[in-house]
Every structure is written in structure tokens, then in C-alpha cells.
């Protein structure tokens, strides 16, 4: 089914629509800001600490200037007085205290800003996870899993960093530059202007640099992902590469991908190097001007050495924060694009969900009924996948569905647990429309064994008990015995505690399908659907599984979807589906007697050898 949907739908889901225009950016930033304001104390502590830290930081140059001047007072006449010594001591102690306090307030500023970011990040993480878990299949069909991962990891990070590197830094810079400028200019207007002359240039270059670095970083990531795809495919398909002796071509492919990435990487280095050195130059040029004009003023006795020292040290204090203006600009830019993607996900509608008056499903006879069911994927209403499907199955019965690929047989399986909602008609379980019962109870009552069983990277035991994690170990073992998996598991190094899945022991297709069967044996469903779930299991093992499951199937409705006739010829009712419609129905014998499509398929599968042998050169 997945391939059906992926092949036909465009990838234009709301999650991909990039933020456009200033209005939208501002709305996004506002929403992020509001999220932070829900922790008013932390915001207050962070901003308050910033304010105090800025004041204290700007006091240091003043104290230094004062101390230098204090050393100058006695130069003119006489020796060192006790009073002068004492003044120096006071200045020194003040300096020590102010420095230490500034450190403490900077610490609380950073800590509260970061902590708030982490708290908001935590909330967003949970919201994302919850949303992703609940979004319907139709959403997941359309959105690439890689994109969701990007939203949940990188975009979330972008939003999280907004407060500490964006908002708090903006406050810090505004206060620092504003108060600093006031202090300097009120002392000496000309020197003040000169001392601050580097600020606009450095701020501008820094912003340009960071924004460009981010843009090229995204570009570089894209090129690097091409490179990793080249490497990954090569390593995964190494036998094909070797079989066709294509190593040279592969190196060529690698070099192409690698070189385009390298050019960009060099570009980034150049951007960084040229901008940082230009920023340093402009700072030093301002410093030089202050030194020249200040020196002349010293000679003219317009200012004291202490004042000049204050100017120079204020400049060095301002230098680093001003250089980081770019980080702040980047944080705003990043938060607005990341935020709009993240909120795009969080605001996504869940299409399949409980109706307002939904009631728990009540099972009595366990009868499943399809009544004129039609289905089309959203946006593709003119291409229905299923048309007017009607059938009924009672407890203990098996309905088999067969048909060519793309005929819609898997879709039937997906409608029963409401992975998708029908477009027309109704599906009922014991007379209750499945759209009017709660999803949780419905999905407990309907179990689907997928063809491509997903394994979680955890122990085999946990995987089998996935639907019933409270189960006792014996039940897990019994289920796996029925699924003909027990002996294999006992042969594994850690038995049931062996970790499987992406980063564990890898199971073959057949073993995975058997595990999926064991999984549903743990549940107590009223309807069991095997969606082509034995394709990779050999016929002999399948036979044994069927025998073992006979008791399990006795008081349930079983639906088997397969194209292997031996898997379904025992069914009470066989539906032959083509093009979304049931074109033949009946038992195995009835269908054979009909001499229709089913019969043709049967002939093809049961006598594969005749008339299809390879006719080679001499043609025997």
C-alpha cells in the first residue's frame, strides 16, 4: 500500500512549505517568544541578570581609569600619601568585587537562558513525539521520514536556541552598546564617537558572515548528503560494483560529489577568514584613531591618562559581544525558518481520530462486514483504489483476498483498523460502524500482520511483546513456538534477550514475518489480517504455522491476503480483486469450476515447469 501512495502523491505537504515573507516570520518568532513567556520567572531572571551583568561590565573600565588617575595625583608633588594608597586599595577591592559579581551575573544570565531553552525544548520534544505518533497513515505516506527527523531534531534545536542566542543576546547588545555609548560620549563626544565607530561595521560584517555561513552550510549539507549517498550505495551494492568492474566509475562519481562539496567547504573557510580579519582590522583601526586623537588630547591636557584607559578598555569590552551580533542575527533567521516548519508539523490535522461521541467497541459475535466500500486517497478522488467492496465474515471464518499487484487488496486490510477512512460505504464490526467507536478499542480488536514487519531495535522478547508489554515470558515463548520461531531464537547468542533490528542482529525476511506473526499471537484480536505476510516464508514452514494457528483462528475472523494460492485455498471464501473491484468470489472449488481468472492463476502456479523451460541454443 505504501508504494501506491508514495508513487502518486506529491511531496507538497504543509510541513514542507517554507516560511515566506516577513509577516509570517514575525508571527513565528512571536509564537516562540510567547512559549518562553510561559516561564515568566526564568525569563525575568535571565533578563535581570543580563542587565546587572552589563552594568557591572561597563563599570570595570571606569574603575580602571579611576585607579590609573589615582596613581597620577601624587606625581606632581611630594611622596606617596597614606590617603592615596588607601584610595588605590579601595579601587582595587572594588574592581575585584565588580569583576566577581559580573561573573556571577553572567553565569546566571547564561544559565537561566539555557535552562529556559532546554525546558521549552523538552516541551516541544514531547509535543512533536506525541503528534508524530498520532498523525494518520495518510500523513506519513506523504512526508518523508527524513524530513520529520530533521524537524524533530535540527529544527527543534533552532527554536530552542532562539532565546539564549537570539533574544537574550539582543537585550545584552542593546544595553551594552546603549549604556556604553552614553558613558563614553558623555565623557568626551569626539573620542566616544571614534571609539564606537567600529560597531556598525563589525555588526554588519558579522551578520553578513553568519547568514552566509548558514546558507552555505545548508548547501554543503546537501552536497555532503549526495556524497554519503554515493558512498552508501557503493558499499551496499559493492557486489554489483565489483561484478561490473565499475570501481573506476565509482571513484569518478565519488570525486565529483566530493569535489563539489570541497569547493563549498573552501568557500566557507574563505568567508570566515576574510570577514573575521576585516572585523579585527576595523576594530583596531578605531582603536588606532582613539589612540591618536586621545594622545593628542593628552598632550593638550584635555583628558587624563585614566580617561584614555577607560576608553580603550571599554572598547575591548565591547569588541567580543559586537562581533557576535551575527550569531544573534543567525539565531533569529534560524528560529523563524525552523519554527515555521516545526509549527507546521504541530498544527497538522489528524485525519483519522475519534469521533466526538465515539464509544468503546463492543464485541459479541465478532462479525466483520464491508458494505459497498469505496476508497480513494485524498486528492486523488478521481482514481479510486477500491469500488463497492462488500463481503461478510463471521467468527471462525477465513476470507482470502487475491489479485494482481496494485489491485487494492492491501488497501482492504488497511481500512479495517482505520489506518485510512473509507470514502464511501461502511465497515461494521458487530453492527457498529468503525468510525463511531474509539480508535484504541478498534485497534485492540483488529490485528494486522504486515508484509514488511518493522522491528524495533530492542530484544526479541520486547519485539514479540510489542502489543502486550505486560506479558509473561512463557506467553512470549508460546507465541514464538506457534510462529515456528522458537528454535531459531534459542540458537541465538542471548536467546530471547538478543537485540534485533537496525543496530542488532539482522533477521531474514522470513524470520521477520514469523516474528510479526508471533506478535499478533500475543494479542486477543477479533479480526486478524495477514497482509501478504508469509511471502518470504517457505511453503513448508508456512504449513506448520497454519497448523499451529488453527486454535488461535477458531474464534476470530481471519483475512488472508496473498498471491500464493497454497496459502489461501483453504479459505471459506476467496475474493479475487482486480482494479479495486471484486470480480470473482467463492470457495476454491467453486472458483476453479468457474474457469475464470482464479483458475488461470491456479494453473500458472501449480504447474510452473511445463512449457516454460529455458530454451537454449540447441533447443531441446
Amino acid at each position: 500500500m505504501r508504494s501506491d501512495a508514495v508513487g502518486t502523491s506529491s511531496r507538497n505537504s504543509p510541513a514542507h512549505v517554507a516560511a515566506s515573507g516577513w509577516g509570517r516570520s514575525l508571527l513565528t518568532l512571536r509564537r516562540i517568544t510567547v512559549m518562553h513567556l510561559r516561564h515568566p520567572w526564568q525569563v525575568a531572571f535571565a533578563i535581570g541578570s543580563t542587565f546587572l551583568a552589563v552594568i557591572l561590565q561597563l563599570l570595570i573600565p571606569q574603575l580602571l581609569g579611576r585607579a590609573i588617575d589615582q596613581t597620577q595625583t601624587t606625581l606632581g608633588g611630594g611622596g606617596v600619601t597614606a590617603a592615596a594608597e588607601e584610595a588605590l586599595w579601595i579601587s582595587a577591592l572594588l574592581l575585584l568585587a565588580v569583576s566577581a559579581l559580573r561573573g556571577i551575573f553572567t553565569m546566571t544570565q547564561n544559565y537561566f537562558a539555557e535552562a529556559l531553552g532546554h525546558h521549552v525544548g523538552y516541551e516541544l520534544r514531547l509535543a512533536c513525539y506525541d503528534k508524530i505518533q498520532r498523525l494518520s497513515f495518510s500523513f506519513h505516506d506523504q512526508v518523508h521520514s527524513g524530513d520529520l527527523i530533521t524537524i524533530g531534531m535540527l529544527d527543534l534545536e533552532g527554536v530552542r536556541m532562539y532565546f539564549s542566542t537570539g533574544l537574550v543576546r539582543a537585550c545584552l547588545l542593546t544595553m551594552l552598546i546603549g549604556i556604553g555609548a552614553y558613558m563614553l560620549i558623555s565623557t568626551d563626544a569626539v573620542l566616544g564617537v571614534l571609539a564606537l565607530s567600529f560597531v556598525p561595521f563589525v555588526g554588519w560584517r558579522s551578520s553578513v558572515m553568519q547568514l552566509r555561513l548558514r546558507a552555505t552550510w545548508l548547501d554543503l549539507q546537501e552536497r555532503l548528503s549526495v556524497l554519503s549517498r554515493v558512498m552508501e550505495e557503493n558499499l551496499g551494492g559493492i557486489r554489483v560494483v565489483r561484478a561490473f568492474a565499475a570501481q573506476d566509475d565509482e571513484m569518478l562519481k565519488f570525486d565529483q560529489a566530493s569535489n563539489t562539496a570541497l569547493i563549498l567547504a573552501h568557500d566557507r573557510v574563505a568567508t570566515y577568514a576574510s570577514n573575521t580579519s576585516a572585523m579585527s582590522l576595523s576594530f583596531f583601526a578605531s582603536l588606532g584613531l582613539v589612540l591618536w586623537v586621545g594622545g593628542n588630547k593628552l598632550i593638550a591636557d584635555d583628558i587624563s591618562i585614566g580617561t584614555l584607559t577607560t576608553f580603550l578598555t571599554t572598547m575591548t569590552t565591547l569588541q567580543i559581544p559586537v562581533r557576535q551580533i551575527g550569531l544573534m542575527a543567525n539565531a533569529f533567521a534560524r528560529a523563524s525558518t525552523c519554527g515555521s516548519r516545526l509549527f507546521g508539523l504541530l498544527d497538522q490535522d489528524i485525519t483519522v481520530r475519534d469521533a466526538p461521541e465515539a464509544r468503546p467497541l463492543e464485541i459479541s459475535d465478532g462479525a466483520l462486514r464491508f458494505d459497498n466500500v469505496s476508497f480513494a486517497y485524498r486528492g486523488l478522488e478521481n482514481r479510486p483504489v477500491l469500488r463497492n467492496i462488500s463481503f461478510e465474515a463471521r467468527r471462525g471464518e477465513t476470507v482470502a483476498i487475491v489479485g494482481p499487484p496494485g489491485s487494492g487488496k492491501s488497501t482492504i486490510a488497511h481500512l479495517v483498523p482505520r489506518f485510512y477512512d473509507v470514502t464511501d460505504g461502511t465497515i461494521t464490526l458487530d453492527g457498529q460502524d468503525i468510525r463511531r467507536v474509539t480508535l484504541a478499542t478498534l485497534r485492540k480488536a483488529v490485528a494486522v500482520v504486515q508484509q514488511d514487519a518493522f522491528l524495533f531495535t530492542t530484544t526479541i522478547e520486547n519485539n514479540i511483546a510489542y502489543g502486550d508489554p505486560w506479558a509473561k515470558a512463557q506467553r512470549v515463548e508460546r507465541a514464538s513456538e506457534s510462529a515456528q520461531l522458537h528454535n531459531y531464537i534459542l540458537g541465538l547468542p542471548a536467546g530471547y534477550k538478543t537485540v534485533v533490528g537496525e543496530r542488532g542482529v539482522s533477521l531474514s525476511g522470513g524470520q521477520r514475518q514469523r516474528l510479526a506473526i508471533a506478535r499478533i499471537m500475543m494479542l486477543h484480536p477479533s479480526v486478524v489480517i495477514f497482509d501478504d505476510s508469509t511471502a518470504a516464508i517457505d511453503a513448508a514452514t508456512e504449513q506448520r504455522i497454519r497448523t499451529a494457528m488453527r486454535l488461535f483462528a477458531k474464534d476470530r475472523v481471519t483475512i488472508v491476503i496473498s498471491h500464493r494460492l497454497s496459502s489461501l485455498m483453504y479459505a471459506d471464501q476467496i475474493l479475487f480483486v482486480d482494479n479495486g473491484e471484486i470480480i470473482e468470489r467463492g470457495t476454491h472449488q467453486e472458483l476453479l469450476a468457474k474457469r475464470g481468472r482464479y483458475k488461470a492463476l491456479h494453473d500458472l502456479q501449480m504447474r510452473p515447469a511445463d512449457g516454460m523451460a529455458i530454451k537454449n541454443g540447441d533447443g531441446r
Binding site: S3, G7, I60, L64, I68, Q70, Q72, A92, L95, L96, A100, M107, A115, H118, H119, R125, L126, Y129, D130, Q133, F137, H140, S145, E233, L235, V240, F244, A245, H266, V269, A273, S274, S277, L291, W292, G295, N296, I299, D301, I305, T313, P404, P405, P417, F419, R443, Q450, F454, T457, T458, N462, G467, P469, W470, A535, A540, H563, A613, I614, N616
Partner: protein, 636 residues
């Protein structure tokens, strides 16, 4: 990292050790992680030597960069001295010639600073990127020639993390190493200049440096643990999220959302906690450094100030010292950070060298010949014995011959050595005893590239590459024309479905041909083999169940593919087996029977008893019946 902060155990989350009602015993989210060890030696001469080999080509650039860096550091040291000079020579009433000279010197200094600053950043940055790309290329290139037995054993994911993460940490090391030189030079310079300005004042002021160093060294190991815990919980939370995304259909169909959310909350909360703790560690250094800076400044003011008042030193010395104080804490911070980077680099370097040092077992002989296209296409195994592991022979004394133009079917139960036999034709591995001959030549006397050109291969899993259909079909022969590609596609019956794709032959295939059905992928891989136009075709028949129409198409394509070629087919389907000119029956690595279908049936041995079991495919036969068939044969 303390025990309760361990990432993998949600049970020991916020609610302590007891198992509670919301957290079932058999449920976890996110995977069990096996982290690659990063605590190791900080310095390993051998690893440095190996990395140096990659840096060597850029040594001129490194030298330029290093000298630029030293000059750059020099100008940084010079600037406070110029300020000192200006202040002391701008007394009331003097003329400004000294000031003019100082300003000239300043201008010169900052221009040099600008130029060297740019050079050291740009040159070393680019060189480090080059080294990174070179190392990656060397590894990738090496993986193209290492023996397949290595590639069989290792996971692609693990290799990828070496090609990416490990290579990056080496780049980081190279970049910061140079800056380290600058940091050391700066500290050294500051110490020398301060002592030179006034020895006792300098000494007193500098006494705060060792204090910071000691604090930093005691702080570092704890802080690093906190940082690592934060990193680990992050990746645990992210891993759980990724799992939820990939497994969402399984999660929903088994209704695990509630339980998973609770378990994920534990991980997200652990992540929050460890990050807050890491932040506390990081931030506690801020007041420490600021306090020590304040202390140093206080020393300068009190001691230096009274020296100025006593006329022992000029005020300019004081100002210069204050400038230096603001500079000397940064290098200590980055030097201690470099320690971790270096440790990480050594661990990464170790892993990279492991890859680069994998031995190449299968190499062309120095005098290897190219297999000519004119050869007859015969395949012969002469007493071949082969094993992957010394004591477990996969093939034992196997001999058979496939004449030019014939199709031979390799038949036998799983594990009988069929795939190994086909791999030997291609010389993916070398035999331990005996010979494999292709076109009458021992494969070890031929070049591997020419073997690849003359032998086309179709694997059981039709592996396709990202790219267009067209590119995929001509993978085995890049110079194939569009016409040839289309003809091949028509011949195997793939043309029609290709034309029905959105862009026909120019349709982009998804990862591994994901947007095609398995049958379609199979047909494309046939077309690919046909375009390669080799004398010999080695084919591993697919076992996957496809629907009957596709099955028929595949059978037809197979016939077309084998026409006029020597074929060695690992056959699973009776139709294929029956049509072969020669059937080679393998069991436990030995040839038990050979002959065509009629002959083997007449012989009444292993093959005929298997055939008579009436399974559609030999792979479906359960083990008990196989054993029964084998023993029946020996009885007869």
C-alpha cells in the same frame, strides 16, 4: 556518568527503581546504544605519524600558516606596548612627534595583523578540509579493493560513520592543533612581555595563572562527564524519536502510543536534566575566570599603582599590563579544550587506520593478462577447495566444466556452496586449492577489470543505484548508446513499464530503486546485464515471490539473456533447472551429481528424489525431507 543518568534504562527514570503502572516490563523506546569508546590515550605516535602522511602534501601550506600565526600573535602582543608608549610619551606640553611615530607603528602592526590573520585562518582551514577529503577518498578507494570477505562482515552503517564522523574529528583536530601553537605562543609571549615590563609586578600578576590552570584541570574531568552524559541522552532521545517515525505504522497498529509517550518522556526528561547539569558545569567557569581576572587587576592596581606613585614605573606599564590580563585566560581555556579534541582524534584515527590497513587479499598479478573478448567463454572448476574460515571448507574438491554457450544450473539446498562457486568465477575470493579457469585461463592470471568486463552478473537482490533508469541499465558499460539501452530493455520486456514511468528512461529512481516493484527491479537488472554484453553470465535467481505475470515475464527475459552466452545459474525454480544443459547438484560443498534433467531423473539419485517431492522450488523443501532424500540415495 552516574548510574541513574544512564540513557538506556527508562525504568530508573524519575520514579526511581520500582516498576510502576505506566511502564511495562517488556517495553522500551529507542535503541540500545553501543557507543564507540572515546576515552583513550591522548597521544599515540603511530596514529600521529599516519595522519601526518595525509598532511605532508600540504606541509608548505601548514608552514606558511604557522609562520603567519606566529607573526599574528606577535602583532597582538605589540599593540598594548604601543599603547604603553603612546601614554608615556603624550605628556602635557610635549610635541606629538612620538605620537606620530607610534601611530605609524600601530598602523603597520594592524595591517600586518590583518594580513597574517587572514592567511593563517584561510590557509590552514582549507588545508584541513583538503586533508579531510583526502582521508575519506583514501578510505573509500581502499574499500573498493579490499576483499569481499571483509565487506561481508562489516555493516555499511558502521563504515559510513567512519567515513563521516571519524574523519570530521580529525579535521577538527588539525584545525585546532595549529591554533594551539598560537595559544602557546601567546601565553609565552604575554609572560615574557609582562616580566620584561616589570619583573616583580609581572610575577605577582601572573601568579593567578597557575590557580586557574589547577581549577581548570580539576574541573575538566567532571565537566567532561557531564557533557558526555548530555550528549548521550540527546542521542538517546533522538534515537527514540527516529524510531517512532520509522515505526509509526507498527506503533499505531499495536496501539502503543500511550506507553511509548511515557517512556519517551523519561528519555526527554533525562535529556533535560543532563543538559542542565552540563550547563551548570560550563557556567561555573565564568565567575571563576572573572574573579581571577579581577584579582589580577587588583594586584596591578595596588602594587603597580604604588610603584607608579613611587616613580619606579610609568603609568603606561600599568595600562599595558591591564590589557595583557584581559588576554591571558582565553588561551588556557582553548588549550584545555584541545585536550578533549585530541583524545577524540586519537580514537577516530585508530578506527580510520583499522579501515585503511585492511589487507587486500585479491590483487592482480604484476604480469596479469587482460581476458580478451575473443575467448570462448568456457568455465571450468578443477579440484577447487575453498573456505572463508580456515577450518570450514565451503567447497571441497569441486570439478565441473561449462562449455561455451551452455547453460549450467547450480542446484542444491541452502548452504551447499552455490553462491560461493559463482563468486569464485569472478575471483571475488581466491581458492585455497585447485583452479578456476575462465576461457581457459586461471582467473588469478587475469586482470580483475577484464574479468568484470567479460562476465556479467545478476544478483539475487537486484541492487539499483540512485539515478535515471537509463544510467542504471548502462551501469556495466558506460559507453552504451541510448539505442542499445532501449534494445536491451525491449529484449527483457522492461521497455513497456519503463515508458509508463513519469519520464520514461529519464525517470529518477529512488534509493535502491525504491519506487519500482521487485519484479521491475529484476527486469532492469537483466537489462543491465544484457547491455554489458559479456560472453559469460553468472546469475543468482531471485527467490522472492512475485506475482505470476511478472514471474512469466522474468522467465522469458532469462531465456533471452542466456541466448548465445555461457551461463552459470544458481537456480531455484524448476522451470529454470529443467531447461539447463547441465545440472550440477551440490550438497555440503561437494558435487554429488551432474547431467541434464532427463539423465539425472534416470539416475534416480539425490536430484530425482528431490524432484519427486514435488515442491515448486528446491528451497521450499524442509530439512527433514532433504536428509531423507540424501539417505535414500545412499541406500539405493
Amino acid at each position: 556518568m552516574s548510574q541513574e543518568e544512564h540513557a538506556g534504562e527508562p525504568e530508573t527514570g524519575r520514579n526511581g527503581d520500582h516498576v510502576d503502572r505506566k511502564r511495562p516490563p517488556l517495553a522500551v523506546v529507542g535503541s540500545h546504544r553501543i557507543d564507540e569508546e572515546i576515552f583513550g590515550p591522548v597521544f599515540d605516535k603511530m596514529i600521529i605519524a599516519r595522519i601526518w602522511a595525509f598532511v605532508r602534501p600540504y606541509r608548505a601550506k601548514v608552514a606558511i600558516s604557522a609562520s603567519a600565526l606566529l607573526i599574528f600573535t606577535g602583532t597582538q602582543l605589540l599593540i598594548p606596548l604601543i599603547i604603553h608608549y603612546v601614554i608615556d610619551h603624550s605628556k602635557r606640553g610635549v610635541d606629538n612627534s612620538a605620537l606620530l611615530a607610534a601611530s605609524g607603528a600601530f598602523l603597520l602592526a594592524i595591517l600586518v595583523n590583518f594580513a597574517t590573520g587572514y592567511i593563517q585562518e584561510a590557509v590552514v582551514g582549507k588545508a584541513a578540509e583538503n586533508v579531510l577529503f583526502d582521508i575519506r577518498r583514501a578510505m573509500f578507494g581502499h574499500l573498493q579493493v579490499v576483499s569481499l570477505s571483509f565487506m561481508d562482515k562489516i555493516e555499511v552503517g558502521r563504515l559510513m560513520s567512519r567515513l563521516q564522523g571519524d574523519v570530521n574529528s580529525i579535521q577538527e583536530f588539525l584545525e585546532t592543533s595549529l591554533f594551539c601553537i598560537g595559544d602557546i605562543a601567546l601565553i609565552f609571549g604575554v609572560v615574557v612581555v609582562m616580566l620584561w615590563l616589570d619583573f616583580s609586578l609581572g610575577l605577582l600578576t601572573l601568579s593567578v595563572l597557575p590557580i586557574l590552570l589547577i581549577i581548570r584541570i580539576t574541573w575538566l574531568p567532571r565537566a567532561r562527564q557531564a557533557f558526555m552524559a548530555a550528549r548521550e541522552t540527546s542521542s538517546a532521545a533522538n534515537g527514540a524519536l527516529a524510531e517512532a517515525i520509522h515505526g509509526v505504522r507498527a506503533v499505531q497498529s499495536m496501539d502503543r502510543q500511550q506507553v511509548n509517550l511515557v517512556l519517551y518522556d523519561d528519555k526527554a526528561h533525562a535529556n533535560l536534566r543532563t543538559h542542565l547539569s552540563a550547563d551548570r558545569y560550563a557556567q561555573v567557569m565564568v565567575p571563576t575566570v572573572d574573579g581571577l581576572t579581577g584579582l589580577a587587576m587588583a594586584f596591578v592596581i595596588v602594587v603597580g599603582g604604588s610603584m607608579v606613585m613611587n616613580g619606579r614605573i610609568e603609568a603606561g606599564v600599568l595600562v599595558a599590563d591591564l590589557f595583557y590580563i584581559q588576554r591571558f585566560f582565553d588561551p588556557i581555556r582553548s588549550l584545555t579544550m584541545h585536550y578533549s579534541i585530541m583524545q577524540r582524534c586519537m580514537a577516530s584515527g585508530r578506527r580510520l587506520i583499522d579501515v585503511l590497513d585492511i589487507e587486500i587479499d585479491v590483487r592482480d598479478k604484476p604480469d596479469a593478462q587482460a581476458l580478451s573478448a575473443e575467448m570462448d567463454g568456457a568455465i571450468e572448476f578443477k579440484n577447487v577447495t575453498f573456505s572463508y574460515y580456515p577450518d570450514l571448507p565451503v567447497l571441497k574438491d569441486v570439478s565441473f566444466k561449462v562449455n561455451p554457450g551452455e547453460t549450467a544450473a547450480l542446484v542444491g539446498p541452502t548452504g551447499s556452496g552455490k553462491s560461493s562457486a559463482t563468486a569464485l568465477v569472478h575471483r571475488f575470493y581466491d581458492v585455497q586449492q585447485g583452479q578456476v579457469l575462465v576461457g581457459g585461463h586461471d582467473v588469478r592470471d587475469l586482470t580483475q577489470a577484464s574479468l568484470g568486463r567479460q562476465i556479467a552478473m545478476v544478483l539475487q537482490e537486484p541492487f539499483l543505484f540512485t539515478g535515471t533508469v537509463f544510467e542504471n541499465i548502462r551501469y556495466g558499460r558506460r559507453q552504451a548508446t541510448r539505442q542499445q539501452v532501449i534494445e536491451a530493455a525491449k529484449a527483457v520486456g522492461a521497455h513497456d513499464f519503463i515508458m509508463s514511468l513519469a519520464n520514461g528512461y529519464e525517470t529518477q529512481l529512488g534509493e535502491r530503486g525504491g519506487n519500482l516493484s521487485i519484479g521491475q527491479r529484476q527486469l532492469l537488472s537483466f537489462a543491465r546485464a544484457l547491455v554489458a554484453d559479456a560472453k559469460i553470465l553468472v546469475l543468482d535467481e531471485a527467490t522472492a515471490n512475485v506475482d505470476s505475470d511478472t514471474e512469466m515475464q522474468i522467465q522469458k527475459a532469462l531465456t533471452r539473456l542466456l541466448k548465445g552466452r555461457t551461463g552459470l545459474v544458481i537456480a531455484h525454480r524448476l522451470a529454470t533447472i529443467r531447461g539447463a544443459d547441465r545440472i550440477i547438484v551440490l550438497r555440503h560443498g561437494q558435487v554429488v551429481e551432474t547431467g541434464n534433467h532427463a539423465e539425472l531423473i534416470a539416475m534416480g539419485g539425490f536430484y530425482s528424489s528431490l524432484y519427486n517431492l514435488n515442491y515448486a522450488s528446491f528451497d521450499d523443501i524442509p530439512k527433514e525431507k532433504l536428509d531423507a532424500a540424501a539417505s535414500a540415495r545412499f541406500r539405493s
